[in-house]
């Protein structure tokens, strides 16, 4: 229990250091653009592949589960949209990105720690925490919501394609279902969630890497710890945010 409080304390102090005034805004802007590419744009492919298949799978499953003359077919499109919007494109995509981006951040910063690159920055007088971590946080918090919107669209498109290809339902019914009872707040709720999850993934992974010690084995452990911790905290915050924003 003591170790948990110690970790929370160290994490808070690190975040205080991260959000202190940057040395030179121009350099940070350049680094943010670099991180948008490294952490955001490079995740588009993975997000697209997973979203299209999940969207298609949800549509298939719904068509099997809702196969009844008493249930209108457009509900399949409606269920696909709701699943993608409310949970998959924010929470599940965040869990996937925790694996990809989180382990990347933890291993990058952990390697910099054990090869004394962070010490070198400190010696130069650079606030290493802010220089290394702040651009990653800003990049992911601003870019991940776009990934979520992209995931929603491509997942829904995946459902449409499978409906057309397999002929399980009339495409017009699917489209009708997508438009049925559409609440904009659900999309906003999803975007708020992914922004919070982006902060969780980046800051926790950076924390695990920043305090890595020893050798390459420890960097590997820090990377695993980053993914596990981020995933657990994401699940907890998913509940909290749903309770706060949706009920």
């Amino acid at each position: 229990m003591f170790s948990l409080f110690e970790s929370i304390g160290r994490y808070t102090l690190l975040m205080k250091k991260v959000f202190s005034r940057p040395e030179k805004m121009r350099i940070y802007r350049e680094r943010i653009m670099y991180e948008v590419e490294a952490l955001g744009l490079n995740s588009i492919g993975l997000t697209a592949i997973i979203s299209v298949f999940i969207g298609a799978a949800i549509t298939l499953q719904m068509s099997i589960s809702l196969e009844s003359p008493f249930i209108p077919q457009y509900l399949i499109g409606y269920a696909t949209r709701e699943t993608m919007t409310l949970e998959f494109s924010s929470t599940v995509v965040a869990l996937i990105l925790a694996g990809k981006v989180g382990s990347n951040i933890a291993s990058e910063i952990g390697t910099m720690r054990i090869t004394e690159q962070i010490d070198a920055l400190e010696i130069m007088g650079v606030n290493s925490a802010s220089y290394l971590i702040l651009p990653k946080i800003v990049a992911t918090v601003f870019f991940f919501p776009f990934l979520t919107i992209f995931s929603m669209l491509i997942g829904i498109a995946g459902g449409y394609v499978i409906a057309v290809v397999t002929g399980i339902m009339i495409p017009a019914d699917y489209i009708e279902g997508l438009q049925y009872c559409f609440v904009m707040w659900e999309v906003i709720y999803s975007l708020i969630k992914i922004a919070v999850f982006a902060f969780i993934i980046t800051s926790i992974s950076a924390y695990c890497g920043y305090y890595a010690k020893g050798n390459s084995l420890e960097v590997g452990k820090a990377s695993t710890r980053a993914v596990v911790l981020s995933s657990i905290v994401i699940m907890i915050f998913n509940l909290i945010l749903t309770q706060l924003l949706l009920t």
Binding site: M112, T115, E116, Q117, D119, A120, I123, M124, G125
Partner: protein, 251 residues
């Protein structure tokens, strides 16, 4: 001048530095020598502020560095250059970007002025054609030379080197030693080098401090070291059979 006064540093129950007092003069290559695990890296990292000392004081000229807060230390750090054992170049940046980073962050120079300074420093360490190379594309000696270029780009008054020759062949080691020595003289820098390479000691050691089990055991010049009446130092200096035979031959 850099001065350590009664410096004590512990990690848990283990006291690594035991009341060390030593002074390093300006314009000299000062060497800290000692066996692996003797505490010389901890001393160097304490001097540079990467470790906070338990008690005692560290002075940079007349300023008590160990009592300064983070902000005040930051001002002094702009006068500090450090060469790490593995070079510690940023992997994601090219050699030129690594050398230019301190200029980008702490000066208001134009891009042309910065590149002029970068070119000058890379030329000084004979790395004229390595601007666009990444650290993974460099040899061990080139990494050390790029690290030296980065360390001197801000015209430091204090230069710290943590085992600058480790992993290098004897010829490249001499090149690196001479480079550090020449830069020290050229810019009148207070240079402190942490090493266990006896070639470095005999080549460039103007002041040598021998650390043994966390204590300052001996200090003197490279001329004194051969005649020092100190068993632990003798064991360290003449550890190899060849060195022992050479000493006997001199006697």
């Amino acid at each position: 001048m850099i001065k350590a006064q009664n410096v004590i540093k512990s990690f848990g129950d283990r006291t690594v530095l035991k009341d060390i007092s030593v002074e390093f003069a300006t314009g000299q290559t000062n060497l800290i020598i000692g066996r692996s695990g003797s505490g010389k890296t901890v001393l160097l990292k304490s001097l540079v502020g990467l470790h906070n000392i338990d008690s005692g004081a560290i002075y940079y000229d007349d300023v008590c560095f160990s009592e300064l807060d983070f902000k005040a230390r930051k001002a002094i750090r702009k006068d500090v250059g450090m060469i790490f054992q593995g070079g510690a170049l940023l992997d994601a940046s090219t050699v030129a970007q690594n050398v230019k980073l301190p200029l980008d962050l702490f000066t208001t120079q134009s891009e042309e002025e910065k590149m002029e300074r970068v070119n000058f420093c890379l030329n000084r360490v004979n790395l004229d054609n390595a601007h666009h190379l990444y650290p993974s594309e460099l040899s061990g000696g080139m990494i050390k030379r790029a690290a030296i270029a980065r360390a001197i780009v801000m015209n430091p008054r204090y230069l710290f080197c943590d085992e600058p020759n480790s992993g290098l062949d004897p010829q490249t080691s001499i090149v690196i030693d001479n480079l550090i020595h020449d830069i020290t003289k050229e810019y009148n820098i207070t240079t402190i080098i942490n090493t266990h390479d006896m070639n470095s000691v005999m080549e460039i050691g103007e002041k040598i401090v021998f650390i043994y089990e966390g204590n300052k055991w001996w200090e003197g010049s490279k001329d004194d070291i051969l005649h020092a009446d100190n068993r632990e130092l003798e064991d360290f200096v003449f550890a190899s059979a060849m060195a022992k035979r050479a000493k006997l031959a001199v006697k």
